[in-house]
């Protein structure tokens, strides 16, 4: 039985449908990521689960029981809000200890726990400050610490790392993952960081305009997005139109072998990093010219002009190509995803 089951949840704001029948099933102890463009309804979904927003339709089951009429504080779901909502009248220490105080936890336990959180979140020295004296990232960490301190059954994280630097983000992420596994906390994470989602989730849900469009494993989502919309959302992509005939995809830039056999006209999607660039002119390669180049530290983003089409490519920095350079591209047919034309 799944820990959380959303079935057909819908919600309107001012007669505008924001959630259009959300179905989602999360198993106990799973870490699920919820991705989707800004304004698609992610926060709203989390709020519905936590009981802060009442859905207009549908049901939410927890361990098979509807929790629609369970009061917020009895649901055992804790949200870390996108805008933190720290208690302005409490110090950082009191903010973090709030949930435990409400649960009337033993005082020593509470103090220890708060201290532990302060350490883990690298908030030492801030404990007696008030929220308005913190930096953005510090506030975000306090919000996280406050939620984690109560060790909830279900943890709902709304872009919890958005204001953290890379190193902290990494640390927090690791910590949450380990805590989550240790305490078997069911977690739903809203994030805009695709890499983050891919790296730490058991499953990923992609939400577009109030609907869950795909729900599957990270590899699944990245390699086989069910629709162009999902593919687009999930990272940069190149599109080619063409036809499939006898196991081959024919396009203006060339012919590629595929598994697919049925005859059809298709749109093909190729991720930029799946295209190999080389300065050596392989005979199987497709010729092109570098027309744009952006340095990104560990790799470089290129635009390559083929005959009549521009492709985005991403390559490591081992070999750096310059604008105007003639290059040869190599695309493995297995890395191409096809959609009905």
């Amino acid at each position: 039985m799944s820990e959380i089951l959303l079935s057909g949840i819908s919600k309107d704001f001012n007669n505008k449908k924001v959630l259009k029948g959300i179905n989602l099933s999360v198993q106990e102890g799973q870490m699920i990521s919820l991705l989707g463009p800004s304004g698609c309804g992610k926060t709203t979904t989390l709020k519905v689960i936590a009981g802060l927003i009442e859905p207009d339709g549908g049901d939410i089951l927890m361990k098979g029981q509807s929790i629609l009429s369970t009061p917020i504080e009895k649901r055992g779901t804790v949200i870390v809000f996108q805008d933190y909502l720290l208690f302005p009248h409490l110090t950082i220490r009191q903010n973090i200890g709030f949930g435990l105080k409400m649960a009337k936890a033993d005082k020593n336990y509470r103090e220890d726990k708060v201290q532990e959180m302060l350490d883990l979140m690298e908030l030492k020295g801030q404990e007696e400050k008030y929220p308005n004296q913190l930096s953005g990232g510090q506030k975000q960490r306090v919000a996280l610490a406050r939620a984690l301190a109560v060790e909830p059954k279900v943890l709902l994280l709304d872009e919890p790392f958005s204001n953290l630097d890379l190193r902290l983000r990494e640390t927090m992420r690791e910590f949450i993952c380990s805590l989550q596994k240790k305490l078997n906390i069911t977690t739903i994470l809203v994030t805009h960081d695709k890499e983050e989602a891919l790296m730490i989730s058991d499953k990923i849900a992609v939400m577009l305009e109030g609907e869950i469009k795909q729900f599957g494993s990270p590899v699944d989502l990245y390699e086989n997005p069910v629709s162009e919309e999902v593919a687009n959302f999930f990272g940069e992509a190149n599109y080619l139109t063409g036809t499939i005939e006898k196991g081959y995809f024919n396009s203006s830039i060339g012919k590629f072998q595929t598994h697919i056999n049925h005859h059809s006209s298709v749109r093909a999607m190729i991720r930029p990093e799946k295209i190999e660039i080389s300065s050596q002119m392989y005979k199987t390669g497709i010729k092109g010219t570098v027309i744009k180049k952006r340095y990104a530290g560990d790799r470089v983003h290129y635009r390559i002009l083929l005959k009549d089409i521009e492709l985005k490519c991403i390559a490591a920095t081992k070999e750096i190509f310059h604008i105007g350079q003639e290059v040869s591209l190599n695309i493995n047919g297995n890395n191409i995803v096809f959609y009905e034309g």
Binding site: L52, P71, E73, I79, H89, R146
Partner: protein
């Protein structure tokens, strides 16, 4: 609270304005002090020609029972203030946070006791209280004081709730706080500055009631205001001033204490609601 920068560059214009207005507000009270001791103060003298202690001696004298009544009145009005606030908080929250049918209607209805002159409702209220067996009792007076006090309590707190909204309370609930815990640990501290204002005003309104106190207290419950008003009406300026002075001073002490208590309990800061 104002941005550091803003404060610094503010010209003295506002300081001058503040002190002038405050002066104009406070100056007339000086008059009250002088009149309390002015035995003889004919035109055109700027100060009394002769001072006297008739007023203060009468007030302090045991037979006037003024001080005893003063303490009793403070107690009565404190009780009224607390009950008013307790009733006002949920009502104000409903009006300030939720959307529901008839909200505008309720907002105006709440004002009714301020709008309607008390004599228009006096007889009806009196009959109600007699029927309830509350006429001529302490609790009857408390109950009847709630009527003029509630509009102030509710309106001021409604403004506060409109500003703070519900998100902090929701956050507390999500962290496992029961509604009651949410109220005591989050709502109350957040509305504390508003509580001070509303509480002050409610106390003042109750403390200066005399018509309703006469009506429902029936003379069994005698407040300081009831002793003071006859002197104001009879134009005995020394007595009126002495009573008013004590009235104002006592209220001021209560208000300062109230503010201190609320703020020491809930933290002395203003929170950025907005």
């Amino acid at each position: 609270m104002m941005g550091e920068k803003m404060k610094k560059t503010t010209n003295i214009f506002f300081d001058i304005m503040m002190y002038s207005i405050i002066f104009l507000l406070v100056f007339p009270l000086l008059n009250l002090v002088i009149w309390s001791f002015a035995k003889n103060w004919p035109w055109p003298y700027l100060l009394p020609q002769e001072l006297g202690l008739r007023g203060i001696l009468h007030l302090l004298g045991p037979s006037s029972r003024a001080l005893k009544n003063l303490l009793f009145s403070i107690y009565l009005s404190m009780v009224v203030t607390i009950i008013t606030l307790l009733l006002s908080i949920p009502a104000a929250k409903a009006l300030g946070v939720y959307k529901f049918r008839g909200k505008e209607f309720f907002k105006i209805l709440i004002l009714a006791p301020i709008i309607v002159p008390p004599v228009a409702v006096a007889l009806g209220i009196h009959l109600t209280f007699i029927r309830l067996g509350l006429a001529n009792t302490f609790w009857g007076v408390v109950l009847v004081h709630l009527i003029p006090c509630l509009p102030y309590g509710i309106r001021i707190l409604t403004n506060v709730f409109e500003i703070i909204g519900e998100s902090m309370e929701m956050q507390a609930r999500v962290l496992g706080a029961t509604p009651w815990q949410t109220f005591t640990y989050v709502t109350l501290p957040l509305i504390a500055p508003g509580l001070v204002s509303a509480g002050s005003l409610v106390f003042i309104v109750s403390f200066s009631q005399y018509f309703l106190t006469f009506l429902i207290g029936g003379g069994r419950v005698i407040t300081f205001a009831m002793m003071m008003f006859p002197y104001i009406q009879s134009g005995d300026r020394m007595m009126a001033s002495v009573y008013s002075l004590v009235f104002v001073a006592a209220t001021l002490v209560v208000l300062i204490l109230m503010e201190k208590v609320i703020k020491s309990y809930y933290g002395a800061k203003n929170y950025f609601y907005l």
